[in-house]
Symmetry: C2
Subunit: 407 residues, 2 copies
């Protein structure tokens, strides 16, 4: 596998566009299109929230029951969640407008929305935006970047990644973009992520690869513990790499999964590191757990602890909060066995040995915690299962953003 530049247009036959539709933000693009020159196998994972946004319901219908997806139309600013039958109707109107402008079937158009919950979409502006998108789409890397920018809400930077590998003498590429900064605590999948590939692969294996991979990537991210109403990951495969069709779990499937995992991991980490108000990507590795489920629960418990997140913001080696968060994860372990390490570009330090302080240097710990990417490793010494979760620090800026997000 080779890591390459680019995002959603990196794979062959995928085009993108961005447009300014004036939905809620001023002077910025707020709609994006992902378009495939050939019909795609589509896979998706969606929020487990009981309150599902209208676009989630629309996309589930298409991913589960239709063939040959061709396009995704995305808007930022309004989430089209808690909008009842009217909101669902706007999904259909958006798809119909895209179908007409692009000359493709209405049921090949996926839609996605992100932003404020409870407001209705200004559908006339959306329809006009779809026209601009259809007219402007190209297969350039620049177009993929512009699309990644257009889907941002409180994100501070666009998020995209790509990788490629060889299969049957052909180059197969996987690329994607995502957005997500607040209301990030995915369960089944995360905010909005769009991954494209030119791989020839069956719909069944495409969904299997995606469903498995989100467990170790998007589902291991938490910014604030709030599982969104709109969480959606879409994976489109148009087969234009002309590789031998991947229809069983052979080496080509594994190579595809590796590339997909790279893209999903990069996108997931970018969401965590760009969490609302975050100054740092906070990574928690749990090792030596009795089971994978234990490792996941333990790492996520630390990553979601408000007290720990605030301590990370303060560059404070307040390890007691970490041990406390491990303790209420609902997992059985012996607190007097746990070892804990802090690690970053500034070094690695053992903080706890067998549940009590090693008498480490606070100065050195603060230096390690003052980096942009901080890793805590907990060795539970209960078995050999492990997991990694990603989050961010809890800052004044998080409160600023969320005390008055709507205005």
């Amino acid at each position: 596998m080779e890591i390459i530049a680019g995002g959603v247009t990196a794979a062959k036959g995928f085009e993108a566009a961005a447009a300014e539709a004036g939905i809620k933000y001023k002077d910025r693009k707020d709609m994006a299109l992902v378009y495939s020159q050939a019909p795609c196998a589509a896979a998706g994972t969606f929020t487990t929230n009981v309150v599902k946004a209208a676009p989630v319901k629309w996309d589930q219908e298409i991913v589960y029951h239709k063939e040959g997806a061709r396009a995704v139309v995305i808007n930022s600013g309004i989430a089209n969640a808690c909008t009842g039958a009217e909101g669902y109707g706007y999904c259909q109107e958006t798809a119909a407008a895209a179908a007409q402008a692009l000359g493709i079937p209405e049921d090949s158009v996926l839609v996605a929305s992100t932003g404020v919950i409870g407001m209705q979409l200004p559908i006339q502006r959306i329809v006009e935006g779809v026209g601009l998108l259809a007219a402007g789409k190209t297969d350039t890397e620049e177009a993929g970047l512009e699309a990644a920018k257009a889907i941002m809400t409180t994100d501070t930077r666009p998020k995209y990644a790509a990788a490629r590998f060889q299969a049957g003498g052909k180059t197969v590429t996987v690329g994607g973009m995502c957005k997500g900064s607040g209301m990030i605590h995915p369960n089944m999948c995360t905010m909005l992520s769009f991954v494209t590939t030119d791989a020839a692969i069956t719909k069944e294996l495409l969904q299997k690869a995606l469903s498995e991979d989100v467990q170790d990537t998007y589902n291991m991210v938490s910014v604030d513990g709030d599982t969104s109403t709109n969480d959606t990951v879409l994976l489109l495969a148009n087969g234009m790499a002309e590789n031998p069709l991947i229809d069983r779990e052979d080496e080509n499937y594994l190579a595809f999964k590796e590339a997909l995992h790279h893209v999903n991991t990069e996108l997931a980490k970018k969401i965590a590191g760009d969490g609302e108000g975050a100054t740092c990507l906070f990574e928690v590795k749990v090792e030596g757990a009795a089971s994978k489920a234990d490792a996941v629960a333990l790492s996520k418990s630390v990553i979601t602890s408000s007290l720990t997140k605030a301590a990370i913001y303060g560059h404070d080696a307040n390890w007691g909060r970490i041990l406390c968060a491990l303790g209420y994860a609902g997992v059985s372990f012996d607190p007097e066995k746990v070892d804990l390490y802090f690690e970053s570009a500034a070094g690695k330090l053992k903080i706890i040995q067998d549940g009590v302080s090693t008498g480490y240097s606070e100065e050195e710990a603060t230096k390690i915690l003052s980096q942009e990417h901080v890793t805590v490793t907990a060795d539970m010494k209960m078995g050999d299962a492990h997991a990694t979760a990603w989050g961010c620090d809890l800052t004044h800026e998080y409160v600023n953003i969320n005390a008055d997000y709507r205005s």
Copy 2:
């Protein structure tokens, strides 16, 4: 039942004291004593965190296996958690010092600590503090108040409550004090709470009354989702009211439970309203749930949502976040049936009807949300179960406090 002034010294035969031991804070009292003139039946509920502080282990031994509790010695500043065998030894040394100074058995002395995790207690100062406490104890209301102040950490105000009722021609009193502001997400019970009563009641019924009542009081409070290593509620009954012994679930038991419930509810709400950095007590009532467990899960999900808490801080009627938090509570319901109300001293407003906005006035909503006590009521229309949870808003000051609590 009659609500009265006072706290831990309100009941007959209970004395209290506070002292400055210089454990961690400067120029303030940091140790407290609760003392009973007669041996008590003792009940307790303790943290479910796997990582239990040394005083929790000490108190569990005494509450579960000993008779005739006489005193509780409490310190603030250091939690004596994650301190290994050395920390447990300090519990015994503290109890031994109190036993000698008060002329009571060592195994009648309960201990409790709150503050930084991972540091060892300065045991010499603790022992000296115990001497000051024993010399200074009195049964005045003032002494109860001073004790409530001495156990504060990031609390901004002391918390105490009392009530009394008649049983068999005798006046029986229940009074208590507690502390708690951060690391508050009780599971079985909350931070430190000490409730005293002069009721004559069997140890078995005392524990039953407490265990049942914490479910609806302390366990319904969350400040930050972090379940502490030290959570402890102790309930001491010395029988000095001379009421007919409560040894079955008769009307006197019910009257006792009512008074206990009042004291516990008041103390729990005081913890929520004085959450770290809080500007407001945030109350969430769920009605019409299919079961009590559903109602509890739904109300706690809203009370712990960082996004909702930040919106409350901003006086922002961002109801989508509330519906979202209901949606990820792990409870099945129909989002298109839910009604939602905002209520405070400034009025009551229906925000959502059947899952969509009522078109309420944002100005009126902001006025309601700008009070010190804000209530959200969600009617799920799925059954007739209900629950109330208490939390607070998420503020800049919470981040200030926790980014650098240790220094």
